[in-house]
């Protein structure tokens, strides 16, 4: 279920020139607005004919300008969730959902049970007989997501699909996207501005700026690069921490986790002992010390080594640490950095307050 994209295209003053690939799963396109993310997605869908392009999905060549191959959009079997819902106004919600099925090959049509399950999940059952003109913005977007998923796509393109959907509904739809990724194994290209969505969903992260590739790689790796101002200068910059649940301490409402660098106490997680979790550790919640301080409230300390230092804006320094295999980011003031004489290779202690982990189940919490 691999994806390979190479594009070169000019549109007025804007030039797009980039290439990336993905072994499958969900790849997130991340970048400021106007960087060319939507152009990339449109080219993959076949709605834009790039000057030079090569796009291969799972071994099937969709476009190869060198070989003069260009598969028209209707033959690509792509589910495209646009930024705006684009529902067909003359059809009812049910007909909109069925629309993709009218053209899907006989064997690929979605079963009635799957239809019912998705309708329930997106909570659009009561809307089925209505027309799009009578729906709210969030309702339309949910129907649009359902329509793309029900067209039994072999590649799913989602251009900021959740931007108009409220937080609670988002947390209900995200697991479904995860299921598409993990169970149905549909490769997904996901455009988003929301870091929490990217961290939660994307195995691979592609960063684009001004039509060029800034970085491409496993999400955890790209996010902890200190040389990407796009992340290093964000207020909520941080690292993904993968850990295994060791045990729960009900008395204190805490969970004990094991990660590659050591053990951690975090607020009680819903995951069972033995399960793995992904946690988002914000750089501003990580404290650095040359020696392990005594008599301190912070429950978590990991020993690490400084891998890189970078400017993180407003007189602060972003420190990238390796804690026995777990990458971690810490944001400290330049004053602290000079006092501690931070340099690459320095060994020190990273301290993380347990309460700084967002509460389990919250948007950016247990990922």
């Amino acid at each position: 279920m691999s994806l390979e994209v190479g594009l070169r295209h000019r549109q007025g003053a804007f030039a797009l020139d980039l290439a990336f690939d993905s072994p499958g799963g969900l790849v997130a396109l991340f970048g400021p607005s106007g960087s060319g993310k939507t152009t990339v997605v449109r080219a993959i869908a076949g709605l834009l004919r790039a000057e030079q392009a090569r796009i291969v999905v799972d071994g099937q060549v969709l476009v190869d300008s060198a070989a003069r191959v260009f598969l028209p959009p209707h033959r690509r079997r792509i589910g495209y969730v646009f930024q705006e819902p684009r529902l067909l106004p003359h059809l009812s919600v049910r007909q909109n959902l069925d629309y993709g099925g009218w053209f899907a090959p006989r064997g690929a049509r979605v079963s009635a049970a799957e239809f019912a399950r998705l309708v329930e999940l997106l909570d659009i059952g009561p809307l089925l007989s209505r027309h799009p003109g009578r729906l709210s913005g969030g309702e339309r977007q949910r129907v649009a997501i359902g329509r793309a998923l029900l067209s039994s796509p072999q590649l799913l393109l989602m251009d900021e699909p959740l931007s108009q959907i409220d937080e609670n509904r988002k947390n209900e739809i995200l697991p479904y996207i995860e299921r598409m990724r993990d169970e149905v194994r549909v490769p997904i290209v996901y455009v988003s501005h929301a870091l929490d969505e990217v961290v939660r969903l994307a195995g691979r992260l592609v960063c684009i700026q001004d039509g060029r590739l800034l970085a491409c790689g496993p999400t955890g790796e790209v996010l902890t690069r200190t040389d990407l101002p796009m992340f290093a200068q964000r207020a909520d910059a941080g690292a993904v921490l993968e850990a295994r649940v060791l045990a729960h301490d009900e008395a204190y409402a805490l969970s004990r986790l094991a990660c590659a660098g050591g053990e951690l106490w975090v607020p009680r997680l819903p995951a069972p002992p033995g399960g793995t979790v992904r946690l988002w550790v914000r750089a501003q919640d990580v404290m650095l010390a040359l020696e392990l301080p005594q008599g301190i409230s912070a429950l978590n300390h990991l020993q690490g080594e400084v891998l890189a230092l970078g400017d993180s804006g407003l007189g602060t320094v972003m420190v990238r640490l390796d804690c026995g295999g777990t990458p971690l980011l810490a944001r400290v003031t330049r004053l602290s950095a000079e006092r501690l004489r931070l340099r690459v290779g320095l060994r020190l202690q990273a301290l993380i307050k347990s309460v700084s982990f967002p509460l389990a189940g919250a948007a950016a919490g247990a990922l």
Binding site: A45, G46, L47, P72, P73, H74, R75, R76, R77, I78, G79, Y80, F82, E84, P85, R86, L87, L88, P89, H90, Y99, G100, W102, F103, A104, H131, P132, G133, R147, A148, S151
Partner: protein
Amino acid sequence: MFHLSVEEWTALALSLRVAGVAVLASLPFAVAAAWVLSRTRFVGQAIFDGAIHLPLTLPPVVTGYLLLLTFGRQGVAGHFLAEHLGIVFSFRWTGAALAAAVMGFPLMVRSIRLSLDGVDTRLEEAAATLGARPLAVFVTVTLPLIGPGILSGMVLGFARAMGEFGATITFVSNIPGETQTLASAIYTYTQVPGADAQALRLTLVAIAVSMTALIASEWLARLGRKRAVGT
């Protein structure tokens, strides 16, 4: 006063038939021309556009004469159609329908083109990504969305065809029962002394038909605008 004679009924029925056939037969061409004008750009488009609209501005007698030259028995097209397809226009009601179609054509194209311009092409893109080939997109998305525009164009074309006089009388003359439409009949009555009542009666009929058509067209156009705002 409101009792129509047999000849008057014949003229009204002929007018309705001529206008109906004119609209239905020219509809596919009108949709195609509107699509070309709305969705494509090519060299010479202004000339194409102008040629379609020419019957609106030319004196109808010129249009009728041009039709006579091309579709009359001696005309290139007329000769060909009579030889190979057995379709004869000159001095037949079919000729009146052709003249009415040509005169109503620009109105139909305008109306359909306007509604095509109003269609959100992003909806057509969405349909394409869902697997609909271009023809299917046209039938399942574009046509339904421009439906009211097509209907209002048909109504306008029909009204124009009902009112056609100059081109018809030049092309196919004024033969009662064959090419004498409502307009020609009124003209004939005005030329006969003492037939004022007949002329006035048919005039009222003509006003009623045109008024109905115009109100229907406006209503359909409003329906179309309402429908287009649905995304």
